[in-house]
Symmetry: C2
Subunit: 288 residues, 2 copies
């Protein structure tokens, strides 16, 4: 099945545009998760989160860096977390932000779109088309998806992404490349399996990108802990309320830390945070 | 010790500007390396290469993708390969090309510049200064180094890297950022620990970058299998023959496949290839 179609159908089924970012952090795990190695606790924590939020989210986005940091055992844990999200019926977007040449790109692509139980990856576009091609092949052959970093949520994203190239910012040029590279990967809903990452922290640029690229799928990080709200992301959606998914990590995972909960209620707090975020975005989308 | 100083001293000690890229490939390993898992064979192969070439090269650059592809066991192997190169007295440049935001960048930085036995990493600059800052901190605190991708060796590097931004190509803008970000990390030899990656396949751009940034350390991939020769890289060096190191992977690792050797002589073939490459570059540098 086409990845874009699968993601949109998940959004419809759940009536949710929320992606839960699975970014465990050693110093913020609930104390209730005792015993075992840190990698094992990451798996237990992420499994608990997935089970709690599965009804309120459309997809999961595990951030590989926090697992990779733990070496071999961490990568085993990453696989388990991806498998748990998939088993819960959630499309899995591996947040790896890779980008490399020819056969190195092939190795990364084989790893994250064949070996690991993942449905899509985030990619850095700086190396150009041939660094993305092995991933596009797996979009075509295995129904996978990719999201190219266009305008990232961090403050320094302006350093290079905002530079003007031929009368338009670099991030817009990247978005146009994503459109071109996704040609032939369009699903039945009008979106292709090659989308872009656009930070919720940049609503003006997001609206500009949506206007220029009406048929491009957006993965939008930066909601919640990074400061963006539902009104900031509404312009990224089409008239039917599709075309984008919004990620939150810390504001869901560690919702119990914000008060109003005991530490033992971490899973319930995550479920509540995911549900509230879902409702906020659905409300901002109005009748769509 | 300052990373740039350490790398230059290694070049002087070995009278070599060669970096051996440790990029094992399952389908090209010598049959002599039988038994054990693929990850174990990667370790055995890379150890054999390091032992064979250690007298002819100034540093090692293990490409993480080929290990990462093997999951948990692959990452354990990566650590062993890095440790073996370090034990042979070679500075280790982890070719990871990472780039991510804030605390994700912190996690990657802790992983590759503290947890793993590596001395430097390659980084993708697309996310800007704050994505590099956690690595700069480890350059300051632990004497590590980074190489920002400026102009990569692949054909599609032109897609975005060559775009004109304010009258200069993006890769030059990145190089200038590397200079600025390396301020305060300059060693006694005049180079800072923040260098750039410049493909040997682009000699004109390399010369342009050297002219614009005389004090920037270059890591130059693309020699050998990707087609570049000694004359293509000579312009990247300063008058003393410093300021750059040149990587070759396949042309050293799999030299026995080119003929003139039995398969059992894979280690000797690698040693010969590294020695010849060293001599070619030293000759092209002339009296420098």
């Amino acid at each position: 099945m086409n990845f874009a179609d699968a993601l949109i159908e998940s959004c419809e089924r759940k009536r949710s545009r929320v992606v839960v970012g699975l970014d465990p952090r050693a110093d913020q795990l609930p104390a209730a998760l005792k015993g075992g190695s840190l990698a094992e606790r990451y798996v237990a924590f992420c499994r608990g989160i997935v089970e709690s939020v599965r009804d309120f989210v459309a997809a999961a986005k595990p951030q590989v860096a926090f697992f990779e940091e733990l070496g071999a055992e961490g990568m085993r844990a990453y696989r388990e977390v991806c498998a748990a999200a998939r088993a819960a019926g959630l499309p899995v977007i591996a947040d790896v932000k890779r980008g490399d040449i020819a056969d190195t790109a092939e190795a990364y692509s084989r790893a994250y779109l064949e070996e690991f139980p993942c449905d899509a990856v985030t990619l850095n576009p700086y190396l150009g088309r041939d660094s993305v091609e092995p991933f596009l092949k797996r979009c075509r052959d295995h129904g996978r998806g990719v999201f190219l970093l266009a305008k990232t949520s961090n403050p320094s994203s302006a350093d290079f992404q905002d530079l003007q190239v031929g009368g338009e910012p670099l991030y817009l040029r990247v978005a146009k490349a994503a459109r071109a590279w996704g040609d032939g990967l369009r699903g039945s809903r009008g979106y292709s399996s090659v989308g872009i990452v656009v930070g919720a922290t940049h609503p003006a640029q997001s609206a500009e990108l949506r206007k220029a690229c009406p048929d491009l799928l957006f993965l939008i990080p930066g909601y919640g802990a990074q400061g963006a709200k539902a009104a900031d992301v509404a312009a990224a959606f089409d008239a039917k309320g599709h075309g984008a998914v919004v990620n939150a990590s810390r504001s869901i995972l560690f919702a119990w830390r914000k008060g109003g909960y005991n530490e033992s209620q971490w899973a319930q707090a995550a479920a509540d945070a995911a549900r509230i975020m879902r409702d906020e975005i659905q409300a901002a989308l109005g009748a769509r």
